[in-house]
Point group: C2
């Protein structure tokens, strides 16, 4: 795999990207080439300082501009054509790289990849797939922010893309896919979720889905559940994901505050250090590293703004898996008969 890394992306850029690149080159065997994209002089200086820069697999590509974390995504893509992010994506567009990785502005990364790389054949909209730890390993939630005004047919695409990721990246042969709703009963939901449910049920009855469709699931089912993939529009999905993060954070703050206030609790906390460490490790976003923006040509991994070097390493591993298993071409193959059936269904219903 040839990887293009937006070295200037993220709250702690470029250092974590340089450190992450070093770890990735050390540990990801099939990484043939890694392009570090950003201010050439600065990157050279920092690579030298980090004792890193003589690896022939590493190449620095100059980019004079940086996309800020709070800039409008679309504006950034249109106006900063020489940003590290833009040039990093160009390397995939031009066929130099297989995958691009950035911990920068998510909106700008989604816009840059969608506009420059274009969509896979048969995919209507790109979506972000976010793995969250649950009782079955990881639950893949899609979309978590690329497409706030999704249509039901977009969610059919997200179902296929997430299922392929579950199968090839997480090794689940027959992923269980559900529609997020305000209750598990079939009758529950918004007009949008009910129509999504209806389309998936129809496709399941026709045996066209490369996964098991298990109906509706609700917020209570996120962690101790029977689902591998949870489908939602990007608006609700983004709120869902950030709500999990905020709740976990406030819970751990409450524990820390309680410990500070009581000497007995302080001693108790020493005994519980191992437990807290293990929970922290399990919930740490860096162990996943990044979330793929699925549905675009090429592989695009979006890391958290506060990503560490370990996150960059793990995101590189995810990119490598997506490339090695040709996940994109499997998505294209799976979508063809599904889209044909959806067209038939729409024609039939327009006649009625």
């Amino acid at each position: 795999m040839k990887l293009s890394l937006d070295a200037m992306g993220g709250d702690n850029a470029p250092d974590i990207n340089i450190d992450g690149a070093k770890q990735a080159l050390d540990q990801v065997d099939s990484l043939e080439k890694l392009y570090l994209v950003g201010d050439e002089a600065e990157l050279k200086r920092r690579c030298d300082a980090a004792g890193f820069g003589v690896d022939p697999r590493l190449e620095i590509v100059h980019a004079p501009e940086v996309v800020g974390m709070d800039e409008s995504g679309l504006v950034a893509v249109r106006q900063k054509k020489h940003s590290s992010m833009s040039i990093a994506v160009d390397l995939v567009k031009d066929g130099v790289c297989d995958a691009v990785l950035s911990a920068g502005n998510t909106g700008a990364e989604v816009a840059a990849c969608t506009i420059k790389l274009r969509l896979l054949q048969g995919v209507e909209r790109a979506g972000i797939v976010s793995p969250i730890p649950n009782s079955r390993g990881y639950l893949l939630v899609s979309d978590t922010g690329a497409n706030p005004d999704a249509k039901p047919s977009h969610l059919v695409g997200y179902a296929v893309m997430s299922a392929m990721m579950a199968r090839y990246i997480y090794g689940i042969p027959e992923p269980r896919v559900a529609v997020m709703s305000n209750g598990t009963e079939d009758c529950k939901g918004s007009d949008f979720s009910k129509e999504t449910h209806r389309l998936l049920r129809h496709l399941a009855d026709k045996q066209l889905l490369p996964f098991q469709f298990i109906g509706n699931r609700e917020g209570h089912d996120l962690f101790e559940s029977d689902m591998d993939v949870a489908l939602t529009d990007g608006f609700t999905g983004n709120i869902l994901l950030k709500t999990i993060e905020a709740t976990a954070k406030t819970f751990s703050h409450m524990i820390k505050d309680g410990i500070k206030k009581s000497p007995i609790a302080m001693v108790g906390a020493l005994g519980m250090r191992g437990v807290f460490r293990s929970i922290g490790g399990r919930l740490n976003a860096d162990s996943v590293g990044g979330c793929p923006l699925m549905g675009v040509k090429g592989v695009s991994i979006i890391a958290h703004g506060s990503a560490s070097a370990r996150a960059i390493l793990n995101a590189t591993r995810m990119a490598e898996g997506m490339c090695r298993h040709s996940v994109n071409s499997r998505i294209v193959d799976a979508m063809a008969p599904i889209n044909e059936e959806l067209r038939h269904l729409a024609e039939e219903e327009s006649v009625k």
Copy 2:
């Protein structure tokens, strides 16, 4: 206040309702009358067993049917006209009671109250307001499930209703109200949330809002934030609320599992018992007791299915506050000029 209590509602009915009624009669001074609605023979027997039944403020009202927790709400209301829930709501409809309280099937309670009690003047849709503990005390999230296909104008109503609750129940003179979105910037959101934002901004500019509109907030802002009210449609709001509950639950399960596996952690946990107890108390839904279904004529409080007697007591206190402060008539007063302006705006825009 005269309260009608659905004695058969909830996972642990009728015992928790009977115990809760006893506590409420003991502790809520202005509770003039409490009607326990359910199977008369059973309630009498249980009240006698609990050494309770001679209080002249208590009256048992017979209802031969019970709405199951998994029944369709609308079907239950239409087919079980003699259910404890239905008759409990009738007592408010007929002017016998000021407020109704049930820990039963939420969908059925929403349907029964909306159909039987009708909406307040100027209110388009009823909504559930759920208080969740945050750094400012309580954050009121609305709607959390009554209206999955809300329109932007419905959220304007939820804003006013929640703000009145924040002011009169939680003592916040100038509540800060935000629209939940997938990012805090004004440009972020779905078409739905952007239109809601636009209407509220317009009404704020005209100085017609009885609260401070602070723009968009995201999932990360739920707990450590500057907002008192978070607005969302009932679909996303229900997922948000259940996601908080699920995350808190999984977090505490992880801690418990960790403790079980290590003798050192077990000893540590003893020292931390006070901290865990205080967090458990703060997060316990029973301390709020119930969530009002706002926008209907009369006061309706929906308690959690797993409500305890303490939850019934606290929900009674909330009902009492809603009655004492005439929250409903304040909502009607606040909605009149807002609806007039929204009509003007719609007319102006239809001309363009």
